[in-house]
Amino acid sequence: MHRGDVSLEEEVTKRETLIRGGLSYHDVTEAVCKMPETPFLKSPKGWLIGFTISASLMVMFFLSIVYLIWEGIGIWGNSSPVFWAWDIVNFVFWVGIGHAGTLISAILYLFRQKWRTSINRYAEAMTIFAVICALIFPGIHVGRIWVVYYFFPLPNQMDMWPNFRSPLLWDMFAVGTYFIVSLHFWYVGLIPDLATLRDRVKSKTAKMWYGLFSLGWRGSMRHWLHYERAYLLLAALSTPLVLSVHSVVSFDFAIAQLPGWHTTIFPPYFVAGAVFSGFAMVQTLMLPARKWLGLKDIVTIKHIENMNKIILVTGSMVGYAYGIEFFMAWYSGNEYESFTFINRAFGPYAWAYWTMVSCNVLTPQLFWFKRLRTSITASFILAIFVNIGMWFERFVIIVTSLNRDFLPSSWHYFSPRIWEPIFLLGSFGLFFTLFLLFVRYLPVIAMAEVKGIMPHGDDHHA
């Protein structure tokens, strides 16, 4: 879409107004609070339909987990030598999705990217829900679920400790820390907006809940000072977390001696891939939501274009990593290394490999074209491709490296059973259920922050 109202001089000297449509502070509040203030019985039909579907999928997910615990992980197709398959693919996929939220709320904050204010709340919520989905998979993929508390280093009379040199334990700490810090960050950001809702809602119960969670916020100068300080500190703490979490997840693979897993570029490459997939998911959810919630003037084409640029940058980094890995597999002179990569590209899973390459390397390159990165339809379609590609990336890494291991007699083509797709779909159900509840009851835009970047907030505004 061409924004014809911008001249060359204006484009290079001025910063584009981020909030369009001449909205006033009050208009922003009204637009954002409309949904949380709608009584439940008057919920929009679309929301009800969406919620019914996703909640059903979520219930299916939980029932499948019960069945899994009852029957054992034999219901999946995992078998020697592919002991890790969709369970860990889904885990890594969901952890990755979460990264966009933290990048937007922490790193873009430190980089003073004001446009983040229109999308950070949304993306942070997505982070938390994605991490919830992610944490379920390692929890249920263990064979003996009744001793799953062994994950935690709990003092006990048997002196039994988890292996501190095991990356699975590091995962627990890394993802756990990430979840706790992200949750705090999200909640601290929510406080002023919850207070706004508390002051506006009519229903007594709603007032009680919003009041409880807004922690007595009155918007005084002192409150704001503390708030800003807390926000900066949380941003500074979250920034290394963006890198550490997925780096630790990559260690699950990289520290093993398996060709295809064991390579030093994994930590930064996983981080780039995580941000890449996270932004694609933000686009996937944001594009329909801004339409249905009437937020087109707050989340504008400019925001969409910026997110697409990040998808392009991180997608190119992922492409760089694919290329370097391939080159180094040859350069190493190690026949096992080169075999793994040739097997990936031309072996039995070539279809998955080329799906991954086309979705993750070729798709984002289309965003070089301004016409495409400012088109809503193109952004949506390409974001879906990236989502698919990033799921396949984890599949390719995990399954293709395992299925032809060092012992040719044990080579085995892994195929999922009916249960794997059910678990994946079910996790989407959980994700969307949480997300729809968020959209319904909480302010989806950080109102206070958006107001801070509107022209009225600027001293120089005429």
């Binding site: 060359l8 001089e9 000297t13 890198l243 260690f251 570029i265 930590p267 180094m328 002179g333």
Partner: protein
């Protein structure tokens, strides 16, 4: 410093190095490679900085950009300085000993051979000269005023330039540093080298700005300091990841890199790097006050620059296999001084008669008025 002084220093540095060269050419060539790569990382870092500013349409950094442009515009001199490395390549790179190669190196020969090595170097220098000189010229052209479309053009050319720059820098680090131990490989090596380049570029820019007349304020230093701080962590993160992954899997052909750096007196250097290149700069420039205080920040930049040179030394020198590498340390330092002085002399030459500020840049007012919040 005046250009002439710098040239004299450079001549002295190289002259002293020649003394070492006359007694042990092979050992001295490692020193030459060290000095060459160390100095080259500065213009490469500047190049990354300038391209990123154009691509992100940054406003805050306009005042600081010209010094980086001077730094990158002189990159062609390194193409000339590379010639001795080609001539004495046989002393440096074990893969060049055709006829005495083991099975693995024969497999690698299609990539690791002298002619392809030279062709690649020519390509790298062509890319760097193209980027360095073109962006410098366009920026100077804009000084004449009013040419806003140049900002857009530089943004557009920046797109594919940064891809070429990223690839060429990575492969140059594979060729000139990684292949010194030709059996060893690491996919993240290019990223590690990039982190070092960026640190060198930022430290150079900050120090140049302090000595210049550019009206930068504590706000700009704070921002440059934030980047230095962030990339100090990034360097440590990449270095740690590489070490961690190789240490844990403990595969001999991969741990070889670290084993070389734990013998012949290298282990103190290896352990010291963690402190000198991470902990000290981390605490030195973490505080907002440190970044805004010119003297403290200058100390931080000088420290980071020197620590970065030690890092490059640590990458190059253990591969020489010399048991008493310390004996030639003084020549290594001399040749480094020679390279840096020559680089600075070239910068001084380029600077002549050119504005220290991109005064035609449409975002200059934004940069002048810039404040952290």
């Amino acid at each position: 410093m005046k250009m002439l002084t710098l040239l004299i220093v450079a001549a002295a540095g190289f002259g002293f190095w020649v003394l070492g060269f006359s007694s042990d050419p092979t050992r001295s060539m490692y020193g030459y490679l060290f000095g060459f790569v160390s100095a080259l990382t500065i213009p490469l870092g500047c190049m990354f900085f300038v391209l990123i500013q154009h691509l992100t349409r940054a406003g805050w950094s306009v005042l600081t950009r010209r010094v980086a442009e001077f730094g990158m515009a002189v990159v062609p001199i390194f193409a000339v300085l590379f010639i001795p490395i080609v001539v004495f390549g046989h002393d440096l790179f074990p893969w060049s000993h055709t006829g005495h190669l083991d099975e693995t190196l024969i497999k690698k020969a299609p990539y690791l051979n002298m002619s392809f090595f030279v062709i690649r170097a020519v390509i790298y220098f062509a890319i760097w000269t193209g980027i360095g000189v073109w962006f410098y010229r366009k920026s100077v052209e804009q000084d004449l005023g009013g040419r806003f479309e140049l900002t857009k053009t530089m943004g557009k050319v920046g797109t594919f330039s940064i891809i070429l720059l990223a690839l060429s820098t990575s492969f140059a680090s594979f060729d000139w540093l990684m292949s010194l131990q030709p059996h060893w490989y690491s996919t993240v090596f290019g990223v590690y080298f990039f982190a070092g380049c960026f640190l060198a570029g930022l430290a150079f820019m900050s120090l140049m700005l302090m000595r210049s007349t550019v009206p930068v304020t504590a706000e700009h230093y704070q921002d440059l300091g934030k980047l230095l701080f962030g990339f100090t962590m990034f360097w440590a993160y990449i270095g740690f990841s590489q070490f961690m992954i190789y240490w844990y899997a403990n595969i001999p052909e991969e741990t070889e890199f670290y084993l070389h750096r734990l013998e012949h007196g290298w282990s103190p250097v290896s352990y010291a790097l963690i402190v000198t290149n991470f902990f000290i700069p981390f605490f030195l420039i973490m505080s907002r006050h440190a970044k805004r205080n010119k003297s403290v920040f200058a100390a931080g930049c000088i420290w980071i620059m020197l620590a970065h040179f030690v890092d490059i030394y640590w990458l190059v020198m253990p591969t020489s296999g010399a048991h008493h590498w310390q004996d030639y340390l003084v020549f290594d330092v001399a040749v480094l001084i020679g390279f840096v002085a020559l680089f600075l002399a070239a910068v001084a030459w380029v600077m002549k008669g050119i504005s220290m500020v991109p005064k035609g840049d449409p975002r200059l007012p934004e940069s002048i008025a810039f404040e952290n919040y």
